[in-house]
Point group: C2
Chain length 317, copies 2
């Protein structure tokens, strides 16, 4: 039986997303939250994280800081994966040493197919998907800036409920994180791709534009709508029919939101690898399987893949 | 009656293309070739052009060098326009002062629609179109490097023959320029766009790649073929059916040619304005008129237009 007041949590990949949501969980008092972090290990071990948030700033001192999952003593109730989704990174292999018999896995990531992969690696474990709607970035060692948004949607894969989901929801809500449970987390992943698939790549390919500039260019705005439409068509072919209004809603939302630099553009400007496969490749491959034509997606996918290959560096370990 | 041995020619826009083909014409001994050039005026007036060519280097001292067409004494038999095709540049207005009653106009340019525009401005004048297949660039004041190719295709617009075309053909052939007359110069413009429409934009959008790198990337290679196919479909809708083999021929040619940096990429790297409208806009607009779907072209057009707007500077006058 999980102790409501002492959920043991390990966050794997404690960058901006992982440390923010892990930190909020710790702040709730309902969980002991440890982290596996690589590049900032020494700093975080000594100082923890300083999180400057539009909601309320806070300090997050993890209950443990480790270089590798294997260093975690015992096994967590919940292991949160909050890494970027990049090819050739064997997340399942890296977390395996910390995964106990009853450890639940939660993926706060972008893209498609991560739950299925994790299920294959850990067929007897409970798996949650999570989608973050937040503007958050790391600005220095152990320093996180939370600039906007802050919602998180969580759900059991492929469906169902779980007492841990209830604890998480209650804990996040308590600390001001707008947390919603989802009955179809994969459908929600598709819905998020409706925004991510156009704006992230186009912000780079159109010459380094924030969302305000993309929206202000009628041709790029039209291109965003065309890409969104293709995402919806592929989603439907995969059995996830999105609401008819989703395209116009996403366009309106982005037009009315303050100009925003996409996370992919930030990665590009810092020569970091881009989530090309998670955001575009995953959709284009499903389109091929379902024999759906996605010419706009294919065009930006081919271009962005090349940009990533030629300008972005492998992640530093 | 035109004097075969003394064709009076004025080249308007004597950059790399204009000075190379104008210089070869002068070299033939059949023509007196003057130039209107802006940025290098002082240098060229004193020193002429040094043309370093894979065929044979030569020096070209124009018979006159002018800042403006109005400074040309009298009127030429042939006025060659060899500027880039950019919106908002009123070429007809700029050349008008030098256009006499019998002056023939020749456009050595990329894109579509220049002949029609020129015909509207000068309805009673004979108009020639010309398409250059050459790798040539300016490397310094009055210094031109001719690195590859060197063909030129010339034809009366919209059709027909002319004694001047024969003089030009003979003169260029005499100096080693592979010159061919065309019975349908507009169809030839479409054929050249089959190459230009994919490789020029993609060389920039895919992250600054030469043709070798584009060909070596299977997805970009496929994208090039898809763009070529759309160009052919629009050409056909406009009454210019291109040979069925043209796509494979262009792909083969580019695969077998030494890696080549497109002229558009060179312009981009030098922050010069790009011929976005001539190369892509002209096709996309015709596709709209003919109700032909061109999703690949629309995607790269929207992206490149934005890149041009945000990164390339107005031409210096």
């Amino acid at each position: 039986m999980i102790n409501h007041k002492n959920l043991k949590v390990l966050v794997f990949g404690a960058g901006a997303i992982g440390s923010y949501f892990g930190g909020r969980l710790a702040q709730s008092g309902n969980a002991e939250v440890a982290v596996v972090c690589r590049s900032d290990y020494e700093h975080v071990k000594t100082n923890g994280y300083q999180i400057n948030s539009i909601k309320n700033d806070f300090h997050f001192m993890p209950s443990g800081v480790y270089r590798n999952a294997a260093d975690y003593p015992g096994t967590p109730d919940l292991l949160i994966v909050a890494t970027k989704v990049l090819p050739d990174s064997d997340i399942a292999g890296l977390i395996a040493p910390a995964v106990g018999e009853h450890t639940v896995l939660m993926l706060i990531q972008n893209g498609l197919g991560m739950e299925e992969e994790m299920q294959t690696a850990f067929p007897d474990h409970e798996i949650f998907g999570a989608i973050a709607y937040i503007g958050v970035c790391k600005t220095g060692r152990g320093v996180i800036e939370h600039q906007g948004g802050g919602k998180i949607q969580i759900g059991r894969f492929p469906e169902g409920s779980s007492p841990i989901l209830d604890i998480l929801t209650e804990s996040w809500l308590k600390t001001g994180v707008e947390c919603r449970q989802s009955n179809d987390i994969i459908k929600d992943r598709w819905a998020k791709l409706v925004w991510n698939a156009p704006y992230n790549p186009i912000s780079i390919l159109a010459g380094g534009l924030d969302t305000g500039k993309i929206c202000a260019d009628p041709q790029l705005d039209e291109l965003c709508a065309a890409v969104m439409n293709e995402v919806c068509v592929v989603a439907k072919a995969c059995g996830k029919e999105l609401p008819a209004t989703i395209i116009q809603d996403n366009l309106n939302y982005t037009h009315n939101f303050p100009p925003y630099k996409t996370s992919m553009l930030v990665d590009y400007e810092n020569s970091r690898p881009l989530e090309v496969e998670a955001i575009l490749g995953s959709i284009v491959r499903r389109a091929s399987e379902k024999k759906v034509a996605v010419p706009h997606l294919r065009t930006i996918y081919a271009l962005l893949k090349s940009v990533n290959l030629n300008h972005c560096h492998p992640i530093k370990t």
